[in-house]
């Protein structure tokens, strides 16, 4: 086994070991359990960073997917299931983002455990979710992809149902049933493809793999629906606001930061890659729905009265830009989707951390009952302003590139009307975020905050996100260069 292969396996084995270590710790050693989980998360992050390009890929030049590192072992021949992992320019940024956010969440949990305690179990579940998400990003076998896709469901349900807010049970149930509905469609879609193509190897399947047009249309419909639930794409988004609002802070961060990316990544790699004919056929519909999501989410946000709910709905809008980028089926659009994904993960992760901190201190999330944060907690107010401005897509910060490139890609594609409406939707984002800032940070101080200052743990867990939001905005090439080849190859296949 080469070093790269070892690293690939390590990104899955480390968090899995962390799950066992954290869950096995006895109740009186709760903090030790959390610490063990944190160590596992840190090891995973280091392993994921080291997955950088190295050497010449095994797959020849011109192939649609050229993983830098690859491992391919048989697992269940009876189900066409191989343990086939690989990382390339499309998956690498997401792998690192996942590992980073999980690490930050584990660190945050070390400092603060939401009610009703049992922090080691929360950490164990976060790491279990990480296994699933990382597995999805590095799977190069369609059946394996599905297996990892399913791993996330129950741990996330438990995180919301145990550590969530007042109405956590219904929200958790809605989340798990709704997203399972997406997963079972994925199951059917995957095996429509596998049974017709006779292989589950994503590298061979990308580009259609000789599938008939009818099969591709059916497969893409099923896959797109499955991923649209997860992403989520309007009008299949209704599970999201409840889940995000009720989840504990770390749950919301993981949910918005990386879990949604399983949908967009899946649509790009599996949906578009495996059934390009179907993608071409459905692209206009996808594009129109994505733009509808941008505008509708913007309008809904303008009327929101709850902090976390507002951020949750803004996610629907941002994912709309990502989906618009994917729907254009161009290299630019793919790149926009990728950087949009990463930027949204960083910024919304930060926003949910901040929203959680504000709700913890003010004991309310209602915008009416917040206010004057600028005076009572200037540090918090400053960070919230920064994150909100990054999220609304100010040039120079991370949120800008994904949205701008998505609009550019739509213009290139000839979807002038869609591009104009999407750009107007971006203006809506500015409106509702400024409204948020006006109500929360400015105005007269309402109520008292329990801890106005920022703790060191908070600064440590938010700092990397703050830096990344700026760094990605100034040097987007960090992500774009990595994925340029992969995006071009994919666009080539679809054309």
């Amino acid at each position: 086994m080469s070093a790269g292969q070892g690293l690939l396996v390590a990104t899955l084995v480390f968090p899995a070991a962390g799950v066992v270590a954290a869950a096995a710790a006895p109740a009186r050693l709760d903090r030790v359990g959390r610490l063990a989980g944190l160590v596992a998360a840190a090891a995973t992050f280091v392993a994921s960073l080291l997955l950088l390009p190295h050497g010449e890929p095994r797959v020849p030049q011109g192939a649609p997917i050229r993983p830098w590192h690859e491992i391919d072992l048989p697992w269940v021949p009876g189900l066409d299931l191989r343990f086939h992992l690989g990382v390339d320019g499309v998956s690498y940024p997401l792998v690192v983002l996942t590992a980073l956010l999980t690490l930050l969440c584990c660190g945050y949990t070390l400092w603060r455990v939401p009610e009703p305690g049992h922090g080691r179990l929360l950490v164990a579940l976060l790491l279990a979710i990480e296994v699933g998400i990382l597995g999805v990003f590095v799977s190069l076998d369609l059946v394996l992809f599905f297996v990892f896709f399913e791993i996330v469901l129950l741990p996330m349900y438990a995180v919301i149902a145990i550590w969530g807010g007042e109405r956590r049970r219904p929200a958790a149930r809605k989340f798990v049933l709704y997203t399972l509905f997406g997963s079972v469609l994925l199951l059917v879609g995957v095996f429509v493809v596998v049974s017709k193509a006779g292989t589950a190897d994503l590298i061979r399947l990308t580009g259609g793999g000789g599938l008939a047009r009818g099969t591709q249309l059916l497969a893409f419909t099923l896959l797109a629906l499955a991923f649209a639930v997860k992403s989520p794409l309007w009008p299949l988004h209704t599970w999201l606001p409840d889940a995000h609002t009720e989840a504990p802070t770390v749950g919301s961060v993981i949910l918005a930061g990386v879990l949604l990316k399983m949908g967009t990544y899946g649509l790009l790699r599996v949906g578009v890659g495996v059934a390009p004919e179907g993608a071409r056929w459905a692209a206009p519909v996808l594009g129109a729905l994505a733009v509808a999501a941008i505008v509708i989410a913007g309008l809904v946000c303008l009327a929101q009265v709850e902090l976390k709910r507002l951020i949750a709905y803004s996610s629907v809008g941002h994912m709309g830009f990502v989906l618009l980028g994917i729907a254009t089926l161009t290299a630019t659009g793919t790149q926009a989707a990728l950087i949009g994904n990463v930027a949204h993960g960083v910024i919304t992760g930060l926003l949910f951390f901040l929203a959680g901190a504000i709700k913890d201190r003010a004991h309310t999330g209602r915008l009416m009952e917040l206010g004057g944060l600028r005076e009572t907690a200037p540090g918090l107010a400053g960070l919230l302003g920064y994150a909100a401005i990054a999220s609304l897509g100010l040039p120079g910060l991370a949120g800008f590139w994904g949205e701008a490139f998505a609009v550019v890609a739509a213009v290139q594609r000839g979807w002038m009307a869609l591009a104009v409406v999407a750009a107007a939707g971006a203006a809506l984002a500015a409106a509702y975020f400024l409204r948020l800032l006006r109500q929360v940070t400015h105005g007269p101080a309402v109520g008292k905050l329990s801890r106005p200052g920022l703790s060191r743990a908070e600064l440590l867990s938010w700092g990397p996100l703050v830096v990344l939001a700026l760094a990605l905005g100034l040097v987007p090439a960090v992500v774009l260069n990595l994925s340029a080849d992969a995006a071009r190859a994919l666009a080539e296949v679809v054309r």
Binding site: G78, G132, V147, A161, V176, V184, V188, V192
Partner: protein, 496 residues
Amino acid sequence: MKIDQFALLPAYAAALTAIVALVVDLVAPGRRGPVLAVSALGSAATAVAAWVVGAAGPSRQTFCSPAGCSYVFDRTAAVVAVVFALLTLGALAFSTPALRGGIPSGEYCFLLAASLTGGVVLGAARDLITLVVAVETLTLPLYALVGLRRRVIASAEAAVIFFVVSVVSTAVTLLGAALLYASTGAVHFRALAEALAARDRLVSLPLVTVGVVLVLVGLGFKVAAVPLHAWAPPTYDGAPLPVTAYLSTASKLGGVVAILLVTVQALRPWLDVTGPLLAVLAAATMTVGNLVALRQRRMVRLLAWSSVAQAGYILAPLGAFAFASGRSDAALRVLVAASVAYAIFFAVLELAAFGAVIALRGDRDGGEIADYRSVGRRAPWIAGALTLALAGLAGLPPGLAGLFAKVTVVRALLAGGAAWLAVVVALNAVIGLAYYVRVATTLFVLAPADANGGTQSRPRLPWSVAVGLAVVTLVGLVVGFAPQVVLGAADLAAGR
């Protein structure tokens, strides 16, 4: 007629177990240990015998006539017998609390081993009469077992319901078999298939069709398939818990084996009739089971309805016979293997679920679901095992075994061209999760008494139950990571 005694060895082993259990109870009356030990040893010996006979080269057959052999101990029979014996072993391990609760151990073990004998013969039955006799041998001891909880009205009711429905369904099967015999003059599977293949020479096609439908519907009783499913919830809830565990795993498996043997071997030329019938039965069974399970408040009733739904998933692959693409030799084997594989995965997970319930409840009945609150705090390991089993039944990680079971079924259905049935299965999985997740969540909710700091006593956990639960859960985990073991066994049984 020369009889191959070696081929009959597994059946002898099972029958001998029953007799020895009775004798040991006579010699050492009132002592549970020796009887249980002898029965467990006998079950294990049956499994070994079945493996030795089945794996020993060419299939052994006996009771042959010019029309064919009635008893063929091939790989199929070996796999069925081994699984049966292991499930019986599991049920025995979970029996200690019930036997402590006053159930006579000699009779109990005798009846269980007698039922096992029926299961062993069933896998080797190759004519309709042997098949029905085997199914009856499997079922008859269960009437008594279900009613063994003394002075419990629910138990007596359960036994009566089970008895009445069973007798009716046997009559239905027999009527169907008689119609087939009247139309073809054959009872042996191969002869029957040959006679049925020549449709233009059959006296009356409608008569044969009615015969086919009656046989399958009657056998559907054993797997608790719609329309003969309503006996399951009251029977499961009234019976002693280990008997329920046996009913919902081994006995259900018996029904699956019987349906598979009849459909694939005897009625092979009539797949275009049996296919749509089984497709409708499967779709109706899983949908009814899941929808009714949503409303259940009692633990065992919920598991009973869920097992009705699971029977639908087990039968679903056979529904693909309705399509021409599902009737080719290759597709047929894949579909049969998928059905067997699902049945095995299910049996493991269901046994684990009941094992956990028994570990929590002792010799009491399953109780209300609300009674299971605080279990996560009082007995975290058992709660974990139950959660794992429920997740598996719902088909989601961490119950990977259940996930691969669903994957196997959906894959086979799509390969067989039955996409709509695959979608029905998939959507039913969503409905199913709604109640599995409700039960699993209940385990970790604090009961008011516990929230106030009080503690509830839990019956002492006998070591046999603890070991049994640990082993079954471990098996569930192992087949989750190495599903090829089960898929390989299913392939063997399907004759690949």
